[in-house]
Symmetry: C2
Subunit: 357 residues, 2 copies
């Protein structure tokens, strides 16, 4: 094996987590144990805070970790553009700059999603031929995991954007889920053609045009098919995707808390629950969408992974693994090829994109 | 109490259920025991099949039940317009005609949703000033039930339609949930103004215009607030509503079956599950969206209730109760007033609606 392959540098914005930098640093510490030796971590954040916590991890002085002081922090309530443009010395902005300068091949952040999306789009720009990036999530289904995108990056999506999501998501599913030909479905309200709305009908036609060569398109799917693993890549616009994911995440938490309440209602149930506690622990693991730890913002010139603000060290470590996999499989190169090929089908006459041509 | 109030006639299409007519008839039999004496049930379906089952219910000969033979049945896979126009002697078509002729004040059917929506809209027409009907569902939230509409009647909704859904849903929530001033929320991807898409922004402005006088508008809500009872009436277009509801229904079933699987995994867990079985039964009841048994198609000149195809007798009986409540509270009259008042605000210059004016 060529060990040069493993020399990936990851930029980490350690400041955005709900738990403060400690869990992020603990996750990095775990990753140091499991990642290839050549992997480097550039940690952006308040130096004093990082040092305070990192001293308790024995492996931060291995030469793989470099701390880069960032005096500012993008807070959770900041508006996208203001947060990123107003705080040029924030851990997020500096980490983005480092990826832009190609000093690192991927960026990981638990920070403000809106600011990260805006900042990534402004600083890193989209892949050639991609108009809008998409946030891609991984969810547990009945038999296996599936991806869904866009989870909210582009709530004003046109058919062209949604069709591109199919290409972005397929490339991600190949690496993150290890699938050779991930099945793609377009989320709508009925599997008969023409039953959705105009945007869906147009997108469906575009997806049929690139089926076989660029994606493996299974056609239209309904809401109840998502969790039944009808497909591996569920494609929708950012408005629908965001609402569905938030509603499902909240329903899942509600059911868990109803179950807890019911099990505590009397002594008999409490005793039973104690005996079956392994079942409840397994259930929680099986339905936890956070275990993959990160949602990539796809369609950019660089790899950007958004980790949940409430990520624990295991989630962070999971997100690091995904980031490294994306780099090592060179997902971006294949994605760029697929986008180019698809755009020749979508737009046979190229748009005039620069002056004088 | 004025007993004339109670003289409601309900038309029931008994043929559309997944379980055949038996469960529907059993539900009607239950309702006969609990409804006001003057309530009448006109049952539409194949006479021989109805007689076969109804003979086992002792209360069908009370004079409150009348069987009306319908030789045809609208099947589950029929297309909306074809199903309703092609089968004029179906139980659904004849029941609709009976409501149109004002022989009955409400219609209940478990049949093909698309055909029922198309048939109701064509035969009964929308309330004056309403452009599109909306399917309204009731769901369990953390503390109490909430309504969500549109669940799929109108997937091409304009802001005017979505704003009208708020009025339709508020009127329904007053009767079905017994609320005086149900709180209305517009479902989107962030609670900041302008964060959704253009349709949401326009709808939000319209809802603010009728807040206070016609509805009790709480503003924008996100997906994770639905089940947390942020509002009583969740308003969205039929595309989003249908996908969210189907995804959530399917997730809820998935979690239940994961729980079952985990509890059967070994002898210890099985023993525990036996002791706590009351908890699982209660949980299933608490998260079952079918217990209200019916989803009304709102915005029509008459009351139409769609019951789930898999409804059991309790669900049917629940749907009957809702249908009777809607009639007795004269929901349609108040809805018509609210629509008129709102339209004067939405459209200060009335559209020319008839010739020569």
């Amino acid at each position: 094996m060529d060990t040069t392959e493993a020399k990936v540098t990851l930029a980490v914005d350690v400041m955005g987590s709900d738990h403060g930098p400690k869990e992020v640093l603990a996750g990095i510490s775990q990753s140091l144990e499991t990642s290839p030796r050549g992997t480097r971590f550039l940690l952006f954040g308040r130096e004093d805070e990082i040092h305070k916590h990192s001293s308790s991890f024995g492996n931060f002085d291995s030469g793989q970790v470099e701390i880069r002081h960032a005096p500012e922090v993008v807070e959770m309530d900041e508006k996208p553009i203001a947060g990123i443009k107003g705080k040029k010395k924030s851990s997020m902005a500096l980490a983005l700059q480092c990826v832009k300068d190609q000093e690192a091949q991927a960026l990981l952040s638990c920070g403000n999603t809106g600011c990260l999306m805006a900042g990534s789009t402004i600083r890193l720009r989209t892949l050639e031929g991609v108009e809008r990036p998409a946030l891609c999530t991984i969810w547990p289904g009945r038999e296996r995991y599936f991806t869904l995108l866009d989870a909210g990056a582009n709530p004003h999506a046109k058919p062209f954007h949604i069709a591109q999501n199919a290409i972005l998501g397929s490339n991600y599913a190949r690496v993150a889920l290890g699938l050779v030909r991930p099945k793609v479905g377009l989320l709508t309200i009925g599997t008969e053609e023409g039953k959705g709305n105009e945007v869906i009908n147009e997108t469906h036609d575009m997806l049929k045009d690139i089926d076989g060569s660029i994606i493996n398109y299974s056609g239209l799917i309904e809401g109840f098919q998502i969790f039944e693993n009808a497909v591996d890549v569920v494609v929708c616009d950012g408005f629908v995707g965001n609402i569905v994911l938030k509603a499902c995440e909240s329903l899942s938490k509600l059911i868990s808390s109803f179950l807890d309440e019911e099990l505590r209602r009397n002594a008999l149930r409490k005793t039973g629950a104690l005996l079956s506690k392994g079942a409840f622990k397994s259930l929680k693991q099986r339905i936890n969408p956070e275990q993959f730890g990160g949602a990539p913002l796809l369609g950019l010139t660089q790899n950007v992974i958004k980790a949940h603000g409430s990520s624990n060290r295991n989630h962070i470590s999971g997100a690091v693994k995904i980031a490294l996999d994306l780099v090592q499989h060179d997902m971006l190169a294949q994605m760029a090829l697929d986008v180019k090929e698809a755009n020749e089908i979508f737009r046979p006459e190229p748009l005039v994109s620069s002056k004088g041509q």
